[in-house]
């Protein structure tokens, strides 16, 4: 296609001035571990995935944001270091608040923050006004994005961000919103244990069934996976989103207070005790006993803690994690002896009694030859590199599962399960509903997530109102509601009245999370879009999508033009030329219309190519099975 060459270059130069005009140039893709206590960014360089250090050589960024007067802010280590100067304006462990309302916090008074009960998600009142947890997370993500841009001296094409496997829909959506706000093109949300398995499995060329035991600062996750030649199939997942290393710290702290007869009298004491507990815990990982000391307001606390005392006190916590491991095994239909190895992730797995308890249950030596702090970011970077097309010959496929069941409210406050947990995603389930009144044209649905039978024990995700049902006699309408969970684990709902074929209109009222309007408003005054007006942003997005569509069509034609007649090819070529021609327009809607026309015009071609791919898959398998 000689006429295609020059315009392609122009196209890329217009929209992505920082990138090489060669469409086959490497795209910079990053993996981000957005953790409760700290966050990391990694990328694949020269075929090797590694964490990117900041200008001081540190790869770990404490997940802390301090809001200062005059619109200034500190992020990471300097924020954490000065936390005691202004605890109310120093937000740490914001991940615990993602997708959560004020009433979800068991002890809001245990935090030094001025919470505000906003609809959808709690907010924090800071020197910079009300801040949603999404905005605070976006500050951390933007800081890591900047670090990656500085490292490569280039724009970032896209990012994979990790979330705990046990995160529900609201928490995942909040993470996705934070990425958007930080100006990152989110390629995929993946589960932390799955990311660890990728890093581990590819590093060790492991095959077979493995467990990933991930004990982080604030959450515990367990996943059982089958690994085979680049395919990572999650068989089951489980855990506890409110159990982590912090709870072990609290055990030590209680022990120290009991032994010393001291008391925590204020905020400052509490914070000093936690710091002392963390230091003591680290020592106890390598020593039989350790000194616990903290200068409290009622005097200096010093006491010696025996490792065995600590282990006895923390035993119920470890037991709780082992129960979750057993449950995950049962869900996968497996026994402990089926597990070939267990990957340990998270700093808390350094505790020897945790290691030995897991080893005893699964009867295998824990694998920990990769840095437990870095392994999640490394796995995310490998997946990001793959999704950006930098590794066209490599095969990497994640078949993850939905961690919590989805259901709807029925009569009497009961939950009817629609999508059971541990089902491979993407997945969809359809359920038929009917009307109970003559001429009824609307239907309300309440979607919940969780394993319990009662509505009050599950997490409310959203209320849907289906409107525009054709009026019929009671009980005669057949409304098929389809719940689709995409590869990120996010839910969408569609509905159709099957007798008339009328698509019901759906109004979604998310119980948690932010509405589109709230996000738009936050984007408007967020730091990274401050210089862009709404139109410029829409224009940039429209051009990017036009580029993507144009390039995707070009490579599709290159690969599978033989599936089209000459006429069909000419039609597609015209649509592509039209996209190119309109690219310089200043009206986003015009560009979007041309892109949409190209998308519509290539639907049949896309379907034919998909069919071709499926046939190749089956044919390949047959050859494999016969040989």
């Amino acid at each position: 296609m000689p006429e295609g060459t020059t315009p392609t270059m122009a196209l890329l130069q217009i929209s992505e001035p920082g990138q090489a005009p060669d469409p086959h140039a490497r795209r910079i893709a990053i993996g981000i571990d957005l953790g409760t206590t700290h966050s990391l960014v990694a990328s694949v360089r020269n075929g090797v995935a590694e964490c990117l250090p900041d200008e001081h050589g540190q790869v770990i960024l404490p997940s802390a944001v301090r809001y200062l007067p005059e619109g200034k802010r500190l992020i990471g280590a300097p924020a954490l270091a000065s936390q005691s100067q202004d605890p109310a304006n120093t937000i740490v462990s914001v991940k615990r608040f993602m997708g959560r309302g004020l009433k979800d916090l068991p002890h809001p008074d245990h935090f030094p923050y001025a919470f505000a009960n906003q609809p959808g998600m709690l907010s924090l009142n800071t020197l910079h006004g009300l801040k949603s947890p999404v905005e605070v997370s976006a500050e951390i993500l933007a800081c890591l994005r900047q670090r990656a841009e500085d490292t490569f001296n280039d724009d970032i094409y896209g990012a994979v961000i990790t979330v705990p496997a046990y995160f529900d829909d609201a928490q995942r959506q909040a993470t996705k919103d934070a990425a958007h706000m930080a100006g990152l093109h989110l390629l995929r949300l993946i589960n932390e244990p799955t990311a660890a398995a990728i890093a581990y499995g590819l590093d060790n060329a492991s095959e077979g069934v493995y467990a990933v035991y991930d004990l982080g600062g604030g959450t515990f996750d367990i996943s059982i996976l089958r690994m085979s030649r680049g395919v990572f199939e999650v068989l089951s997942t489980g855990g506890d989103s409110a159990l982590g290393g912090d709870d072990y710290d609290r055990c030590l702290l209680e022990l120290a207070l009991e032994q010393s007869q001291h008391q925590a009298l204020n905020e400052m004491d509490a914070s000093l005790l936690l710091t002392a507990a963390r230091a003591c815990k680290e020592q106890l990982s390598t020593q039989e006993h350790a000194m616990f000391s903290a200068a409290l307001s009622d005097g200096l606390l010093t006491t010696t803690i025996q490792r065995t005392e600590f282990e006895d006190r923390a035993q119920p916590l470890t037991h709780k994690t082992l129960q979750a491991v057993k449950k995950a095994l049962r869900d996968a239909g497996l026994k402990a002896e089926d597990i070939q190895g267990v990957v340990m992730v998270g700093g808390s797995t350094c505790m020897p009694h945790v290691q030995s308890a897991v080893a005893a249950l699964l009867n295998c030596t824990p694998l920990n030859n990769l840095n437990p702090d870095e392994v999640v970011a490394i796995g995310a970077a490998i997946q990001a590199n793959q999704l950006s097309g930098n590794n066209p010959d490599g095969e990497l496929l994640l078949l993850d599962v939905i961690p919590l069941s989805l259901g709807i409210e029925t009569m009497g406050g009961l939950v009817e399960r629609i999508v059971p947990r541990n089902q491979t995603i993407p997945t969809a389930m359809a359920q038929d509903f009917t009307t109970y009144q003559d001429g009824q044209t609307a239907l309300a649905l309440h979607v919940l997530q969780g394993e319990r039978d009662l509505v009050k024990d599950c997490r409310s995700l959203a209320r849907f109102e289906l409107k525009g049902i054709p009026p019929m006699a009671a009980g005669s309408a057949r409304i098929r509601v389809t719940f689709t969970v995409d590869a990120d684990g996010l839910l969408s709902v569609s509905a159709v009245e099957t007798k008339s074929g009328v698509h019901a209109q759906i109004d979604v009222k998310p119980s948690y999370g932010l509405s589109d309007e709230q996000i738009a408003a936050m984007l408007q005054d967020s730091f990274h879009t401050a210089e862009l007006d709404k139109n410029a942003r829409a224009l940039a997005e429209a051009r990017l999508e036009a580029d993507r569509m144009w390039l995707a069509t070009q490579s599709a034609l290159k690969a599978d033009a033989q599936l089209l007649s000459a006429d069909e090819q000419a039609v597609i070529q015209q649509l592509m030329d039209a996209v190119l021609a309109i690219k310089t327009s200043q009206v986003p809607a015009d560009i979007e219309a041309a892109t949409e026309a190209l998308a519509k015009g290539t639907e049949a071609f896309a379907a034919a190519r998909m069919n071709n791919g499926i046939r190749k898959a089956l044919a390949g398998q047959h050859i494999g099975a016969m040989s």
């Binding site: 085979s228 496929l397 999508e545 993507r548 499926i614 046939r615």
Partner: protein, 183 residues
């Protein structure tokens, strides 16, 4: 191996699960082969393979990936596979409106329920579990014979219904075991 004849026609989202996976329409199947087909198909249709594509391709990939997962879930579960085969033969389960079961079967169910109520130890529960498991295996064998050899769909449907009762009982049994272990 079965013929690859279905590969000549274009596959659509409406193809049967068996057609989609290139498998013969029968109850017996090789689980390893099914798993391999599933992964081969997902390597072609999973949305991650279309990360660089336009939104139309992504939508299509999502639809196909969902469809392939749906078929896999149904094919890998013997009970659901049997029910699906009966449905394809025009003999739906009618599980909700048709619950009439042979008296002997119902007697056995009642006996099991009583046994479950009286089982308070792990040993008693696991013993009941293996008894149920044996009954399931026998019913599955009879079901397979009805489907693949006799082609007696009505007999097969009857076995599927019995198996559904047993599955529900097994869930209750497992719940009890879980609670015992968590305590």
């Amino acid at each position: 191996m079965q013929s690859a004849g279905s590969l000549q026609q274009p596959l659509s989202l409406a193809a049967t699960d068996f057609e989609l996976f290139g498998l013969p329409t029968q109850f017996e199947l090789n689980r390893d082969h099914l798993d391999a087909q599933w992964k081969a198909l997902q390597l072609r249709v999973h949305p991650d393979q279309f990360a660089l594509h336009g939104s139309a391709d992504k939508r299509l990939a999502l639809q196909w990936s969902v469809r392939v997962n749906e078929a896999y879930q149904r094919l890998k579960n013997p009970l659901r596979r049997a029910a699906y085969l009966c449905e394809l033969q025009g003999v739906p389960l009618q599980a909700e409106d048709n619950t009439s079961m042979p008296a002997a079967f119902l007697m056995q169910q009642m006996q099991w329920r009583e046994d479950l109520d009286e089982a308070h130890t792990k040993a008693a529960l696991t013993s009941l579990q293996s008894e149920v498991h044996r009954a399931q295996q026998l019913a599955l064998q009879r079901c397979a014979h009805s489907l693949d050899i006799d082609q007696n769909w009505l007999a097969a449907v009857q076995e599927v219904r019995a198996l559904m009762f047993m599955e529900r009982f097994e869930e209750d049994l497992n719940d009890r075991l879980d609670r015992l272990e968590d305590a």
